[in-house]
């Protein structure tokens, strides 16, 4: 089965209807809000919010299954490693110590450490849905149009959308080449040693580069012949006007962002929420 990472799916939901620029701005604001705060109450609230948005945008579990699996794997590793390398960090931050369990040597599980690590995990877990929503609900060409709208040169913006346009084609080339080379005896599995695996992957990369270069020459000719790059500016077929819902979305994100900062400054007097004092 083909791995489709960036498959923008065309359905009509309030989230899909927002302009690409709005979604980029909201994504950045919300991410920053969550990354800044270490208040578990706030983070939980954002997480619920992100899950609601995920539901509204009608993204199916099957579409994001692989991403979710990798995410869980990453979170678990992160959790364990954080504990292994700095088991006392929670105590350091919160300035108190409530032992729960003595494990081994200097590894004592404290309530502080548990809170710190849980907060951190939840932070990732609440940001990732926003990323997924952004990737899966944004029409790449519309996004390019938005980027151009905020002053990014159109050639750069177009390169983004073109990459997304040809990504599946190149993925397919890669798969075909890889299969053909495996038939000739290439071993890609873990059975081979690291060095030979590296050398073997060159046997796929080389033909991939040549066939991709062929493709690029072809596309750039096709674009030249239809006047790409002629003028200093260009218009966009899939450009969307900013509507009221765009402004509302931005305001909501801005609000969340402000709340995050205000909680830190006035309520917690630091980035961390400390229930232990």
């Amino acid at each position: 089965m083909k791995l489709k990472l960036f498959s923008y799916n065309v359905i009509d939901t309030p989230i899909h209807r927002l302009s690409g620029l709005t979604k980029l701005i909201c994504f950045l604001l919300l991410t920053f809000a969550v990354m800044y705060s270490y208040d578990i109450r706030f983070i939980l609230a954002v997480m619920v919010f992100s899950l609601i948005i995920l539901k509204v945008s009608e993204i199916k579990y099957s579409q994001i299954k692989i991403m979710i699996i990798y995410l869980l794997l990453f979170l678990a590793t992160n959790f364990i490693l954080t504990f292994l390398f700095s088991p006392e960090y929670g105590v350091e931050i919160y300035g108190t110590r409530h032992d729960i369990l003595k494990i081994f040597g200097r590894y004592n599980l404290t309530l502080e450490q548990l809170l710190y690590q849980t907060t951190k995990i939840l932070k990732y877990a609440s940001v990732v849905p926003f990323g997924i929503i952004f990737l899966l609900t944004t029409d790449p060409s519309e996004f390019a149009a938005s980027l151009n709208g905020v002053g990014i040169p159109y050639k750069v913006a177009y390169a983004v959308s073109l990459t997304l346009r040809y990504f599946p084609d190149i993925q397919r080339d890669y798969q075909n080449i890889s299969q053909a080379q495996q038939a000739r005896g290439l071993e890609l599995s873990r059975k081979a040693k690291f060095m030979s695996r590296f050398k073997n992957s060159l046997l796929i990369i080389v033909p991939l580069i040549f066939s991709t270069l062929e493709r690029i020459e072809y596309i750039s000719n096709a674009m030249d012949l239809r006047g790409f790059g002629k003028l200093k500016t260009r218009t966009w077929y899939s450009k969307r006007k900013m509507t009221n819902s765009d402004y509302i979305a931005i305001l909501v994100s801005l609000f969340v962002f402000t709340v995050s900062v205000l909680i830190s400054v006035f309520i917690n007097k630091s980035r961390f929420f400390n229930p232990f004092i």
Binding site: P168, D173, Q182, R184, G185, E214, R226, Y237
Partner: protein, 570 residues
């Protein structure tokens, strides 16, 4: 045509900076507004270069030295730029997939308008209007992956028509299309010509397919020169085509075999207009004179496929209960429209994809448990694009790759490579770099690199795609040769000529099921089958009809038998 020409070459020569010799010499050519012109020529003749000169890729994207002048709409082309020329000449490139720059049909059609700073709302209106001209207005939001080959062609056409160009240039519009879609493409071009009166230039070597609809003039390019510029009737009655390695229409070949002297006043450029009064008698007696070849004895079965089913998502079946048997030493075509499951079938046979149910037997061995690598030792796959297979700089290393990866000792590798390069006619190049080879030679390198593993069966995906008649014949004769040496050959193809002339048996796939598994002459004379599988009747079928030969299938079969006998004598 007393008007001024819209395109005028005067003593024009062109040499790419990267080439030692000019590609075009002394071109003198006038094309008038509203004409429909076909430019034919073998690969490397310079016909594509001629097209590049007209649309401005030469000299603006491909640099080189120009002598003489080319005027387009009274402007000296070399003094313009590619953007100005693109407002006069709209180009539809051969690979409608590769030139699809937008993510949807509407966006792709709008591309030129976007670059002209047309406001978004007005752009939507123009796109709708132009899309309606090519019957695509209901598909504006579809992505290129959801379109058929013909729909992609229509989109490309609309994309250049938004500019209201004077000239439409089609660069090999038939490459990569299945036969029925190719036929439709020619009809679309003709309709647009009639509707808009634009000047049409088609560059293509598949003459018979283009002549499905009328053209005004045919220009023949060979070795960088224009060697003929004449109406189609005159050209097909001459010997120019066969002299330079362009395939003449198949029914013309049949007439010539029957000893008929084809003259231009017989209007031979289309079968519909061909005058039959002097044709029927000799054709019928030629047909009766052809002897049926003796039946060959049946060889043992090398590959048995039983009820093979496969799907990517567990729902839509790409292969649905496919069963067939392949005998030792057979040469078989696998045909059907794009997406019928042909490539998937080859991938499942090679073990790239795992089938859901069914069995594949190699002689008596169930090959389910063989890995990709182990299957390659019995079934080899040659991909369509040699650049997707070649990963080494030197021919020797490329062919040796499969053996080295199997840890065959170097001293054993050498004789095996020498032997296989000998068979492939590549012995003189054993120490050459691959970059020095032509496309056809590269193709043979990829075949050699598969043959060296000594598989019993070889599957080739479109072995002759994009090849002119000369190179096509070269590749096919080579395949016939290795077939005679005992290698069983299966070919996935859109080329009805190939199927008819080289493969006695054809398997027709449609929506993952086998529609027919019979002789090529039966397939190409069965209207129902042709319709379902997006194939095209051979013109021999209609010739037989016109000549009052009742058993048309037998006529087609006799033609094939006659040709095979001819090939054997050579």
């Amino acid at each position: 045509m007393k008007e001024k020409p819209i395109i005028e070459f005067t003593d024009y020569s062109f040499q790419y900076f990267t080439q030692a010799e000019p590609t075009l010499y002394d071109i003198n050519l006038k094309i008038y507004p509203g004409e429909k012109i076909l430019i034919v020529g073998p690969s490397g003749s310079g016909k594509s270069t001629l097209g590049h000169c007209i649309n401005g890729l030469i000299p603006f994207a491909y640099k080189g030295e120009i002598k003489g002048t080319l005027k387009i709409k009274d402007l000296v082309a070399a003094e313009q730029n590619i953007f100005k020329l693109s407002k006069i000449v709209g180009t539809v490139l051969q690979d409608s997939d590769g030139q699809f720059v937008g993510l949807t049909v509407g966006e792709d059609i709008a591309f030129a308008l976007e670059n002209d700073n047309v406001p978004t709302e007005e752009m939507h209106r123009i796109v709708r209007d132009v899309a309606a001209m090519v019957d695509m207005e209901h598909l504006l939001n579809s992505s290129p992956y959801e379109l058929s080959g013909g729909q992609k062609q229509r989109t490309s056409l609309a994309g250049v028509m938004v500019d209201d160009v004077d000239v439409l240039l089609f660069d090999e519009p038939l490459a990569n299309l299945d036969p029925a879609t190719g036929k439709t493409a020619i009809e679309i071009i003709d309709d647009i010509h009639k509707k808009t009166k634009k000047t049409i230039i088609i560059i293509e070597h598949r003459l018979e397919d283009v002549l499905h609809r009328d053209v005004d003039r045919i220009i023949v390019v060979n070795e960088g020169r224009i060697i003929a510029d004449m109406p189609p009737d005159e050209l097909v009655s001459s010997s120019i085509l066969t002299d330079i390695g362009i395939r003449e229409p198949l029914y013309i070949t049949a007439l010539k075999y029957a000893g008929i002297n084809v003259k231009s006043d017989m209007h031979p450029s289309h079968l519909q207009t061909l005058k039959m009064d002097t044709v029927v008698e000799p054709l019928q007696s030629w047909y009766r004179s052809i002897e049926k070849p003796a039946k060959e004895e049946e060889k043992p079965t090398v590959l048995t496929v039983d009820n093979l089913t496969f799907s990517y998502d567990g729902k839509r079946k790409i292969l649905d209960n496919v069963s067939f048997k392949i005998r030792e030493g057979e040469m078989i075509s696998i045909v059907g429209k794009n997406g019928a499951g042909k490539s998937t079938l080859s991938k499942v046979l090679c073990g790239f994809e795992k089938h859901e149910s069914g069995k594949i037997h190699y002689y008596t061995e169930d090959i389910e448990h063989r890995s990709i690598k182990e299957r390659a030792e019995i079934i080899g796959l040659v991909m369509q694009n040699p650049n997707q297979m070649i990963s080494k700089a030197m021919i020797y290393d490329e062919v040796a790759l499969g053996l080295r990866l199997r840890n065959v000792p170097e001293e054993e590798i050498k004789p095996r490579i020498e032997k296989v390069l000998e068979i492939c006619g590549l012995s003189p190049f054993i120490d050459w770099p691959i970059s020095a080879l032509s496309y056809g030679q590269k193709k043979r390198v990829t075949i050699a690199s598969i043959l060296v593993l000594e598989p019993k069966v070889i599957i080739l995906d479109e072995p002759t795609a994009g090849q002119d008649y000369y190179h096509y014949t070269e590749i096919m004769n080579f395949l016939e040769k290795i077939n005679k040496m005992g290698v069983t050959i299966m070919m996935i193809t859109h080329d009805m000529h190939l199927m008819l002339e080289y493969t006695p048996r054809a398997i027709v796939l449609s929506d993952g099921r086998i529609l027919a598994d019979t002789s090529a002459s039966v397939v190409l004379t069965d209207p129902k089958l042709i319709e379902e599988a997006n194939l095209k009747e051979t013109s021999l079928y209609f010739l037989a009809e016109k000549a009052n030969i009742s058993d048309r299938t037998s006529f087609v079969q006799s033609f094939i038998d006659y040709e095979r006998e001819l090939r054997k004598k050579q």
